[in-house]
């Protein structure tokens, strides 16, 4: 079976300008969303605080739970629907437990008073103090920045500096666009999301490497051709692989997304978005940047 016939001859770079505009608009949307929401929506991992994940034996609603837990005189409790069945909820408190302040137990007791002790099950409690939260935030940002530079550096070392720049720009693009989607969808930023972002970076570099590898090979083979032709041809030659690999990986991620359960949901969502963006960026961001770089240096 073949999905992509022998060798396609699509002039990908012809659409590069449109792609730039598209990416720029997306990132602009991200900046607007960032400004509108007043920054990233940090989960307890980074912001500190406590979440109590409760599953009820019957469907119920967030408003009812809010009314019950407000009896505890803990301030700023937020109740959020979690999962798809209307029986799982996250109760979030902006402050962390310290031992002296045992929020989760008070929530548990108030729920037992309101719904009966058998009507619900506390499935998960996470509580992060402000110091640990700051520390995790710092480590998370460092990891993403470090990964981006390391990847760019590796490619610059293995290929040529301009490839490294192209890959680096593509990575930054991927992280920004994925973050935009998370901002618009109002997904919480936590450790799992950072792990997923790093995986996206890994995969995206993977795609860029494959295209660059072909470009390098074709540069040796087709010495007389222009860089533009070489890049276009390389993208076309690897197109079959790109479609098949992205397709199979997306199959696996979709399985995670729909069947992996509520805890892994955000992780799968980020991968779903990031994989798509990463494939797009290796064609429309990394390669044009390499070309642009080429033109600039030729002019000098």
């Amino acid at each position: 079976m073949e999905l992509i016939k022998a060798v396609t001859t699509i002039d990908f770079l012809h659409y590069a300008k449109g792609a730039y505009l598209f990416s720029a608009l997306l990132i602009l949307l991200g900046i607007t969303a960032f400004w509108y929401r007043g920054g990233l929506n940090y989960g307890v991992d980074f912001a500190g605080g406590t979440i109590v994940h409760v599953k009820f034996s019957q469907q119920t609603d967030a408003a009812g739970i809010r009314a019950v837990v407000s009896q505890t005189d803990i301030s700023d409790i937020a109740v959020q629907d979690f999962g798809q069945n209307g029986d799982e909820f996250l109760i979030r408190i902006p402050k962390s437990e310290t031992g002296a302040e045992n929020f989760s137990n008070r929530i548990r007791e108030s729920l037992a008073d309101g719904y009966g002790p058998e009507a619900f099950d506390v499935r998960r409690v996470e509580s992060v103090g402000p110091k640990v939260g700051r520390d995790l935030r710092r480590k998370g940002i460092l990891a993403v920045v470090f990964a981006t530079f390391m990847m760019g550096g590796y490619i610059a070392f293995r290929f040529e500096p301009r490839f490294g720049v192209g890959a680096g720009v593509a990575l930054i693009h991927d992280v920004l666009v994925t973050t935009t989607v998370l901002l618009v969808a109002d997904v919480e930023f936590d450790l799992t999301v950072v792990a997923a972002l790093l995986t996206v970076i890994g995969y995206s570099v993977n795609d860029t490497v494959i295209v660059c590898d072909r470009v390098r090979e074709n540069m040796r083979k087709l010495r007389r051709e222009t860089m533009r032709t070489i890049i276009n041809r390389s993208i076309n030659e690897t197109l079959s692989r790109t479609v098949i690999t992205t397709g199979t990986v997306l199959m696996v991620i979709l399985a995670l997304f729909f069947l992996g359960g509520s805890v892994i949901h955000a992780f799968a969502l980020v991968l779903l978005v990031g994989m798509t963006v990463g494939t797009y960026s290796s064609i429309y961001v990394a390669s044009p940047v390499i070309l642009l770089w080429e033109r600039e240096t030729a002019r000098q």
Binding site: M1, L3, S96, E97, T98, G99, A100, N102, S104, N105, R108, D121, V122, R124, E126, S127, V128, G129, K131, V132, L136, K139, F146, A147, M150, M151, Y154, I155, R158, L191, T192, V194, A195, L198, T199, G202, Y203, V205, N206, V209, I210, R214, E217, E237, S240, R241, I244, T245, G247, T248, V249, M251, V252, I253, A255, L256, L259, G260, V263, I264
Partner: protein
């Protein structure tokens, strides 16, 4: 035979057998009796997010630890002074210093003698300017030593408490300079465990102050309950500040069944020194009330009717049996040298863990089957070979997890799922290249040769970059994320091995031994 094909095939079969051997313990509920001890018996360890349990990061209040030990020095000093029959010496703690103000010159001499004699590690200096006070402060090294001691002691105490509470395979370790990491797998009642671990458990015996007494006093809350409803009532006690006997004097603590409606109580068995002190205190204060104070809460304040020898005391407080049991544990294990606070807590209930395993496995199987079927449909026999390599890949990955005693977490399962993606990518790259070569009209052997040769750089570069991101995750990640990084990194190694080395060996076998002429790709 090209490039020692026989050895390559032997290596593959050997590794597969090794993998199966390592996985038998994880997938069989009980090992057969004849299973020799030199064979692996490790299970794949499941993380707290999969088996349920509590993760706690506790921070020791080091500043308070230093203050506490200075207070203790002051207390011992007062005792020494009264033994030496000195006059009035005022001892105050100001931050990290102790200040001794004595009225007469002779008292100052006694203070200095006691300091030199009994507390050689404290270096006294005469107070600044006109003041004739003696000031003792701790230098950086002594404070550092006290910090060390506080964390070590807290670790020890918490370990004792958890051991007595009874948790299978707990992990209790020091992290950084002031944190203690506690992992309690499979715990049923995390709230109770938290209470037990976090309790400072400073036990003190103090006299209830009398009207018109000149001694320093303090007011503490009681924890009395209404005898009819059992509801707590707010009461306060005014006590003399001086601690007559502390938790150091306790040798053992036991739960005693209830004798009346009060409920069970905790019996303290004092050690020799404690018993002696207790006898002295009770003998000297017949008719007065002796308060039993735990963490600055008065549990009871019975009237002393007679001198009490034999070294037994009891704490009542309307406990239920669990509370009494936990109280006995903390009294036996001893007090924490300083309060601890919970800096981070992650608790996963057993039901969520079970669901996560089920859903993780389910999504893995569905995703895996989709990929396997697709590969065969798309690449025919070459796809089947890639599928076999994938199966071996997963086998080796799980076996490596069992061998390294690594912990499988939910993100770890996600890591395995992504390994499937990487593995498929490698074989897609190889197969696409072989197709290109076949299209150019090359024979089977030439197509395989140049297909692998051309695909290799891309496969290596892409796997190395993913491996690098795995390393970064491992470095910066914490807890479950580390699990993801571990499976990702091991997965990449087994991926390169199975997708490149193993499939190539099979192709070579068919090309050479079976004289294969056309590729089914």
């Amino acid at each position: 035979m090209p490039q020692g094909l026989r050895y390559r095939l032997l290596l593959i079969v050997g590794l597969a057998l090794w993998g199966i051997l390592y996985l038998i313990p994880s997938f069989s509920s009980a090992l057969p009796g004849w299973w020799p001890s030199f064979l692996p018996s490790h299970h794949i360890r499941l993380g707290l997010d999969l088996r349920g349990g509590t993760y706690l990061l506790l921070t020791v209040d080091l500043e308070k630890a230093v203050e506490n030990s200075l207070d203790q020095y002051a207390e011992e000093f007062r005792r020494a002074l009264s033994e030496a029959e000195a006059g009035i010496v005022d001892i105050r703690r100001e931050g990290n210093t102790l200040r001794f103000s004595a009225i007469s010159e002779s008292d100052r001499t006694i203070v200095r003698e006691i300091l030199a004699d009994r507390f050689p590690i404290l270096e006294p200096r005469i107070g600044s300017g006109s003041s004739s006070d003696i000031v003792v402060d701790l230098d950086g090294r002594q404070i550092e030593a006290l910090h060390q001691y506080a964390v070590d002691q807290s670790l020890e105490t918490i370990r004792n408490r958890i051991d007595q509470f009874g948790v299978a395979e707990p992990i209790i370790q020091r992290q950084g300079d002031r944190d203690i990491l506690v992992q309690l797998p499979g715990i049923q009642d995390p709230e109770r465990a938290k209470e037990l671990i976090g309790r400072t458990a400073v036990l003190e015996f103090k006299l209830v102050a009398e009207e018109g007494s000149t001694r320093e006093t303090e007011t503490l809350n009681g924890q009395d309950r209404d005898p009819l409803s059992g509801e707590p009532i707010r009461t306060t006690y005014t006590l003399e500040r001086q601690t007559l006997l502390s938790g150091d004097g306790v040798a053992d603590a036991r739960v005693r069944p209830s004798v009346d409606i009060e409920g069970p109580y905790v019996e303290l068995i004092l050690n020799n020194r404690g018993a002696e002190t207790f006898e002295e205190i009770t003998g000297a204060n017949v008719g007065r009330r002796l308060a039993i104070v735990l963490d600055n809460t008065v549990y009871s304040a019975p009237v002393i009717r007679d001198r009490i020898g034999g070294g037994h005391a009891s704490i009542t407080g309307g406990f239920d049996i669990k509370e009494a049991r936990d109280l006995a544990i903390v009294l036996r294990a001893g007090a924490l040298p300083a309060p601890v606070t919970i800096a981070e807590e992650r608790t996963v209930g057993p039901s969520l863990g079970r669901d996560s395993i089920e859903q993780g496995t389910m999504s893995f199987i569905i995703g895996g089957v989709l990929v396997v079927v697709f590969m065969v449909v798309y690449y025919n026999l070459a796809g089947l070979l890639a599928d076999l390599a994938l199966a071996l890949n997963i086998l080796l990955l799980l076996a490596a997890l069992a061998m390294f005693d690594a912990t499988l977490t939910l993100p770890g399962i996600a890591g395995i799922v992504l390994t499937v993606g990487m593995a498929v990518d490698a074989n897609v790259l190889i197969n696409e290249r072989m197709r290109e070569e076949v299209r150019l009209g090359k024979g089977a052997r030439a197509a395989v040769d140049s297909g692998y040769e051309r695909a290799l750089p891309a496969i290596f570069d892409s796997n190395i970059t993913t491996f690098l991101s795995g390393l970064i995750l491992f470095q910066f990640g914490s807890g479950p994320i580390k699990g993801f990084a571990v499976t990702l990194c091991i997965g990449i190694i087994s991926t390169v091995f199975t997708t490149v080395f193993c499939t190539r060996a099979v192709y070579d076998y068919f090309l050479v031994r079976r004289r294969l002429h056309t590729l089914s790709v």
